[in-house]
Amino acid sequence: MSKSSLKQTLKDLDTKKISIRELNQDYLKRIKENENLNVFIHFSEENVLKQIDNLEKDNSAKKLKGIPIAIKDLFCTKSMPTTAASKILENFNPTYESFVTQKLLDEGSIFVGKTNLDEFAMGSATNTSFFGNTINPLSKENEPLAPGGSSGGSAAAVAADLCLGATGTDTGGSIRQPASFCGVVGIKPTYGLCSRWGIAAFASSLDQAGIFSHNVEDASILLQSIAGFDQRDSTSAKVDIPNYFENLDDDLNGKTVGIPREYSIDATPMEISQIWEDAIKVLEKKGVKIKNISLPHTKYALPTYYIIAPAEASSNLARYDGVKYGYRSDEIDSLDEMYENTRAQGFGREVKRRILIGTYVLSAGYYDAYYLKAQKVRKLIADDFNKAFKECDFIVTPTAPSAAFPLNEKQNDPIKMYLNDVFTVPASLAGLPGISIPFGKDKNNLPLGIQILGKHFDEQQVFNAAVSLERSYE
């Protein structure tokens, strides 16, 4: 069966070609058939049926009424537990709903389940989850591939057609890289476009919610639904949210695309350089002016990120102390023992590694040398983009330096793992919107991704360039 788009499904529901119940039963069936992929941390058929019952009694018109959506298990949901894929949040039932999921509920969507991720979104392969690996649906038999990460469960859910869209979060590439690995569309909007209220915090100055979908049109519909100002997030932006879908325009004639030469790195395989060139050629044919730009501090983005993100994480994760919620160790002879054992047993290896690094770079005597230094380099990286965007309307790069790799391949070398984010991290540090769309395949027929970056709050330009490339490729 070919995958139905959100746009088409909304039409089919509207014209009564299909009912909400029939639609969701179709998805429930596929979810049950694909249990081996370990996409969901929490799935309850009963819960989905209850949502269908409630919607059938509801006569009001809603934009996403009956649409099956998967939610990354980093978003607090009242109707389902929230774990952040960590033992330390085992059995945690939030008392409130995140901003993003509340918006989706208000529009009438159905939550099919909570998707797997790297523990506290720290990883690039969905292999640091307490609940086991997620398997990329594009894997061949006996050769399981990683779905990317950290939002690997959400990317896999869309790729396996277990929902019509999914939420993700992106701190350094956690939406764009898994989208590329699973052959789906993933957008991380501008920092501040979607409220962080109710999302378990990893690195607050970088965390941003976004969307996975089958195609660019669907992403434009869903992003509009989750964007908006919220006073409970002090970095939430008070900007007008355009109707991205209505305004989609694939005519790029007269626009200028920036091609950053620093993104040609030695380690990039030929096939990825090739799809990058192909995308540039397609744009040129559409009347887009090609402009070579320079982002001179690109090579410092990864080390900058791996100081700032762990530093913020060490502070954010201090709240998991075994007192208020989640896991508490049995070995609790004193209060300090309780904290130390709870956190030793409740956090996984990668999370502990990042807390330790973060604590070190913030500790007395090292703050200036590491954290302050990284914040200064971050300023230079953001300035690079500001300068570049004076000369171009959007920027095109590859999304990731490889196609999906075998499960666990890179687990033992943290720096090698961190290199997965080489093309996505710079825009995260600058707070810019970025989308990954499937574009071309590697020699093993695995999808590769092209990333489009835009100016702050210029998601419309990002969508327009993406839809234009997507339509030329189909």
Partner: protein, 95 residues
């Protein structure tokens, strides 16, 4: 080597994470290799560069000074590993 046994113990203590000897050794190795790698930032001249801590261009808007106190302590305590008479319970701190 920036991180030795003493340093890792100090950081682990600050982080309130108990480490066994094997873990300490692993983290000493990991952290040193990560710190060596981030060292390249020293190549960058950051004289007179303002540190960037908030990328958001928006100005924090004011809100009405009204309380929206919802007493949900019972609901919140449902998640507590241990509770006593409407409070979170922890091991005894004062003898």
């Amino acid at each position: 080597m920036k991180i030795d046994k003493n340093t890792i113990n100090k950081i682990a203590r600050l982080s309130r994470i108990k480490l066994d000897d094997k873990e300490s050794e692993d983290y000493i190795k990991d952290l040193n290799s990560i710190l060596d790698w981030v060292e390249q930032l020293n190549e960058v001249n950051t004289e007179n560069v303002e540190p960037l801590s908030n990328i958001s261009s928006s100005i924090l808007p004011k809100r009405e000074d009204v309380s929206n106190d919802t007493n949900s302590s019972e609901e919140i305590l449902e998640n507590a590993p241990d509770k006593l008479e409407g409070f979170f319970a922890v091991p005894k701190v004062v003898e």
